[in-house]
């Protein structure tokens, strides 16, 4: 009941004109960002962070704007999946399987509105999950000392590659690279400069916003430049008829059990470290196929095959907010970016956030509820407008993305040096992507590296230099065990799961072609 009370207070915070307006803007922008091929939740939010920062928004307002964008992008990802068979972002991949066949049968409008409702159900359920689960997790987190936090950070890095990780060595490499970048600058505890090589600009360290925008947004521009003329996304306009844009009650009723089941699965996948939205939608789809697909209609335009992954991935998006808010340890790329926003606003997420800034947390959660209803309202009748956005070709869009990135970073510091650093990160991001090195651990390393070191050093100061303190409590030992398992398991299972994900897509692809 305590949670409900806090939630009511949250609504009091969220229901100001400014906040409602920002939530509306965020949902709108987010849906557009999600719908555009090549822009997903993480790079969309990354571009907007510097802007929210330079606009001088209050912490609560900035978080409401950005999480609305996040939720909006999760909704929007389905639009290009269904109409163009190109997932707008990675989690929307599974939606192409039944969404595109439906569109080909002239039922695109139905698929869009049904997936809109499914997204709503998933996100709505997950937001309730957040309300009840996050405070419980906070209670556990309050027992954490520096040694436990150090173990928790290790766990986050070890599991971030995720169960679908292709190459754990590369995930470890990425995390180490990120932490090493974080080490640049003056050491907070002893005041000596590290790895700055006498360059005064580097004494403050490398601003993580600069790194994030470079790695996520600019590298996307380079990627498009490389693939120019390959015909991805271009020239393929939404030529299929949309059809009716409201789902019939019968259809909704038919899909309701599916939506409810997959919401639960998706939420759990989101909360667990290393799983995230992509896996959430994949598991949702596979389990539903096993459970209800008796006639073998999945993959040929079965509405339940559209509802399942959409409810799953939106629920996972909400679930991923739980560890980010309660522990300060994000479980996915986009929540890592949101964490960057909080840090930039001088708010440290984690258990203390719920105690010291309850207005931020609960205002944010209340705003998510509002955003959800706004998104539902926007996505059913106005979906035709978002469809039109897909007609903007990447050759126009990508320069805009690049320029907005520059505007945002320049707006924060007004420094040419930062812009140079951003370009370097853009190129680095491109090379790493080519080599299949995941970018999220790099980001997380840059964000959490200093924090991780601080906790290690604090623990050692308390124990007066005795390293065994790191294994000094059952909680810490448990966390270490989970991190080891989380790191080793993908090496054993990852290939298997990825093969099945690919097979499913190939199977269906073969049917279409």
């Amino acid at each position: 009941m305590e949670s409900l009370n806090s939630l009511l207070n949250g609504f009091a915070v969220a229901l100001t004109w400014q906040h409602v307006f920002l939530a509306l803007m965020g949902c709108f922008l987010g849906t557009i960002i999600g719908a555009l091929p090549g822009l997903g939740p993480s790079n969309g939010v990354a571009i907007l962070i510097p802007l929210a920062f330079t606009l001088g928004l209050e912490p609560t307002a900035a978080m409401i704007l950005l999480t609305s964008v996040y939720y909006g992008a999760m909704y929007g990802g389905r639009i290009s999946s269904i109409l163009l068979n190109i997932p707008g972002d990675e989690p929307a991949l599974m939606t192409t399987l039944d969404g595109y066949p439906m569109a080909q049968q002239g039922r695109a409008g139905e698929a869009l509105s049904l997936s809109g409702v499914a997204s709503f159900v998933g996100a709505f359920f997950a937001t309730w999950g957040l309300v009840f689960l996050a405070p419980q997790l906070v209670k556990v987190a309050l027992l954490f000392g520096p040694a436990e936090y150090f173990a928790l950070f290790t766990l986050a890095f070890a599991t971030l590659g995720g169960i679908t990780s292709k190459n754990q060595a590369k995930a470890a490499f990425a995390a180490a690279l990120g932490i090493m970048i974080a080490m640049v600058g003056v050491d907070g505890q002893t005041g000596v400069p590290r790895f700055a090589f006498g360059e005064v600009h580097l004494y403050d360290g490398i601003d993580f916003l600069v790194a994030i925008v470079g790695l996520f947004a600019l590298s996307e521009v380079f990627l498009f430049l490389e693939h120019r003329g390959d015909g991805t996304g271009e020239g393929k306009s939404a030529s299929v008829g949309i059809g009716r844009i409201t789902p019939s009650w019968k259809l909704l009723k038919y899909c309701t059990p599916t939506m409810l089941r997959t919401s639960v699965i998706g939420f759990i996948a989101g909360v667990l470290p290393g799983a995230g939205a992509s896996l959430g939608s994949f598991i949702s789809y596979s389990l539903e196929k096993k459970m209800v697909d008796k006639e073998g209609t999945f993959g040929t335009g079965d509405p339940r095959g559209v509802a399942a992954p959409e409810a799953g991935n939106n629920a996972a998006a909400g679930g991923a907010l739980v560890p980010m808010l309660a522990l300060g340890v994000p479980g996915s790329g986009t929540t890592a970016v949101l964490l960057a926003m909080l840090l930039a606003l001088n708010i440290t997420p984690g258990p203390l956030l719920f105690i010291s800034n309850p207005d931020v947390v609960w205002g944010l959660i209340a705003a998510l509820f509002l955003g959800n209803f706004m998104l539902l309202a926007m996505n059913i009748p106005m979906v035709g407008m978002f469809v039109r956005v897909l007609l903007i070709p990447p050759r126009i869009l990508m320069p805009i993305v690049a320029m907005i990135s520059f505007v945002g970073i320049y707006g924060i510091s007004g420094s040419t040096f930062d812009l140079m650093v951003m370009i370097v990160f853009g190129l680095l991001g491109w090379v790493l992507r080519k080599l299949d090195v995941p970018l999220v651990p790099v980001i997380l390393g840059i964000l959490l590296g200093n924090n991780m070191e601080d906790n290690l050093r604090r623990a050692m100061t308390i124990s007066d230099g005795d390293w065994s303190v790191l294994l000094g409590s059952p909680l810490a030992i448990g966390l270490w065990l989970v991190s080891i398992i989380g790191f080793v398991l993908p090496i054993l299972l990852g290939g298997l799961i990825r093969r099945r994900m690919r097979m499913r897509r190939d199977e269906v692809g073969a049917v279409q072609d």
Binding site: A172, F173, T190, G191, L218, R395, L427, R457, D464
Partner: protein, 143 residues
Amino acid sequence: MSDRIFGGIGLLFALLFIWAAFHIELSFISDPVGPRTFPIIVAIVMALASVVIIIKPDVKPQWPRAARLLEIAIAAGVMVAYALALPEVGFLIATAVASAFLTWRLGTAPLWALVSGALTSIGIYTVFHLILGLSLARGPFGF
């Protein structure tokens, strides 16, 4: 092969990092761990990961042809030039030129690229400066 080279560079970088860590000056105030230890631990992790990558490389990624690589390099060069020009010529002109170049290289016809560049620049200026009040770089003409 790409992965082997990447692993080699990673290993070299990690070793350099360890070397640099040993040259961090210690100050008279210090904690039991000190400013050197953690960076060294992390660099060792990176070195180990690099060795694994060298031993077990993935399939080679598809690298673009030399002409395309040059193109990416030129685009990066244009961005650097943009960053340098920004405080000199102001936001509107610099942005119009840079985005016209990028959209041209991404496949817009040259004349349309100029139009698109100008519109991008004016659009961003309108939204972010005139409406949202963000301060953008000012050139000699005040915009």
